[in-house]
């Protein structure tokens, strides 16, 4: 019973949601389920918060390796929560100021790591090991040049790199992306069926 019940719920909910997709008269069902999901998430959020606090307090208590990092984490967590709950989060509040002047620049910093990592990944990945790799290498070089103004500077402008880059992006790239999307969509259908029919149970911790 302990295992049957969740499978039964999955089956019923899954089938109902599929049916409502085709029936405007039942569309309220999806709305209701979405709301339930939001309610569940709020409670799960509490669990997440507790896990975060517990893991880090334990680390500090036990003086585990690198426990020092847990202190700023807890301070930041509680400072933002208290300030946000106490004085609001709108324009002109301390919360907003901290968000704009700490959070936004720190996020931007993480994001800009991409510029460096793209370079180091390209250095390793683009090697002409075989014919396919060589083609990839050439296409990548053309697109990299074609997308920036330098392609229309000096002798490079005779190569019409921007037009070739545009062609690569519009045709071969789109074809590849679509093929992946179609394959993935079919995968979604098969996975959903396996889950709804109870064949796939690994997500419930069951083989």
């Amino acid at each position: 019973m302990k295992q049957r019940l969740p499978l039964l719920i999955t089956l019923i909910v899954g089938l109902t949601l599929i049916v409502q997709f085709f029936s405007p008269g039942l569309s309220f069902i999806q709305e209701r389920f979405t709301n339930w999901f939001l309610v569940v998430i709020v409670f799960a959020f509490l669990l997440g918060f507790l896990s975060l606090v517990k893991v880090n307090i334990t680390k500090i208590k036990r003086r585990s390796e690198d426990w020092g990092y847990s202190i700023p984490l807890l301070i930041a967590l509680f400072t933002m929560a208290i300030i946000g709950i106490g004085w609001g989060i709108g324009e002109g509040t301390i919360f907003n100021w901290l968000f704009m002047n700490l959070m936004v620049p720190m996020s931007a910093t993480m994001f800009s790591l991409l510029a460096f990592f793209v370079a180091s990944a390209a250095y390793r990945a683009f090697r002409a090991r075989n014919l396919e790799a060589a083609m990839l290498l050439i296409a990548a070089t053309i697109v990299m040049l074609g997308r920036v103004p330098i392609s229309s500077a000096g002798f490079l402008s005779y190569l019409k790199l921007d037009a070739i880059a545009n062609w690569i992006m519009t045709y071969p790239n789109t074809v590849g992306q679509r093929a992946i999307m179609i394959g993935a969509a079919l995968g979604v259908v098969a996975t959903s069926l396996r889950i709804i029919l109870g064949i796939e149970r690994a997500y419930m911790g069951e083989e």
Partner: protein, 274 residues
């Protein structure tokens, strides 16, 4: 490990260093690599250039700090162009942080052209409500904006004396990072009040606005940093977008050089082993 093999597996921090240099130097000292101005930007430029001197331009700053690197350079170039043509500039914002970002640009650009506040330009500030605000200025500016950003009454301002509603505006420019943004301006200011609209947006969202250009609902579009750089090129100024494009160009070249080096070492190593 031979020297070539060691170079083929170069410490990534060396690559990082080169990339950092390639990005920072052009940002500090723009080279001004030639940009071919793309047609949507050229159209936007002509929309502003084609107006008789002293026309009324409305710029709505609908973006926030997160999208500043892409959109703020557009604000600068558009202001340069407008003041150069002695147009009157009315700035407003449908996003809370847009007004102060616009303020930053106005404070820097207006003095260069001796433009005076409340005579040649005004910052009406932020008003919440999105498309409702656009509808409201369609009938009367003073309704949503009785005061400017600093709390001074707009009715006493020189610049607003000839302006009652959107019908008195010669060109509407929306710089937007999302919603409310370009679609609302097109749907109301263009469809209802027949105003000419130029849009500026992030590179990611640019493709979705091309249909508006084709249908003539917009008269120009600046898409992302490239769009901003193109406008700077057209105006012959070296702004941060052009510098950004320089940085991007040089960074791409550096990456390509590294790829070539990696391949040379790879082949040398392969021959040795083979």
């Amino acid at each position: 490990m031979g020297i070539t093999e060691r170079l083929a597996n170069i410490d990534r921090r060396i690559i990082f260093l080169f990339i950092a240099i390639a990005v920072i130097i052009p940002l500090l000292h723009p080279i001004g690599l030639p940009t071919k101005v793309s047609p949507p930007v050229e159209k936007a430029y002509q929309a502003m250039e084609g107006l008789p001197d002293g026309s009324y331009i409305l710029i709505s700053a609908d973006y926030d700090p997160a999208t500043m690197p892409e959109i703020q350079p557009m604000m600068y170039s558009l202001l340069h162009h407008a003041f150069k043509k002695h147009h009157k500039v009315i700035v407003m914002a449908l996003w809370p942080q847009g007004a102060s970002l616009a303020e930053e640009a106005l404070n820097e650009v207006a003095p260069l052209y001796d433009a005076k506040y409340s005579v040649d330009y005004v910052n009406l500030g932020f008003k919440s409500g999105g498309s409702i605000v656009i509808l409201a200025i369609g009938s009367d500016f003073s309704e949503p904006f009785p005061k400017d950003m600093y709390g001074d009454p707009t009715s006493e301002m020189d610049i607003m004396s000839n302006i009652e509603n959107l019908n008195d505006i010669d060109l509407v420019i929306d710089l937007s990072a999302g919603d409310p943004g370009i679609p609302a301006w097109v749907m109301i200011a263009n469809a209802r009040f027949h105003r000419k609209i130029v849009g500026g947006c992030t590179a990611v969202s640019a493709p979705q606005f091309y249909p508006y250009l084709d249908s003539g609902q917009m008269v120009g579009l600046l898409g992302g940093m490239r769009g901003a750089a193109d406008y700077e090129t057209r105006l012959n100024i070296l702004g941060t977008a052009t510098a950004g494009m320089d940085a991007q160009s040089i960074a791409h070249i550096v990456i390509i050089i590294f790829i070539i080096i990696a391949n040379i070492f790879f082949f040398v190593e392969k021959r040795k082993k083979g």
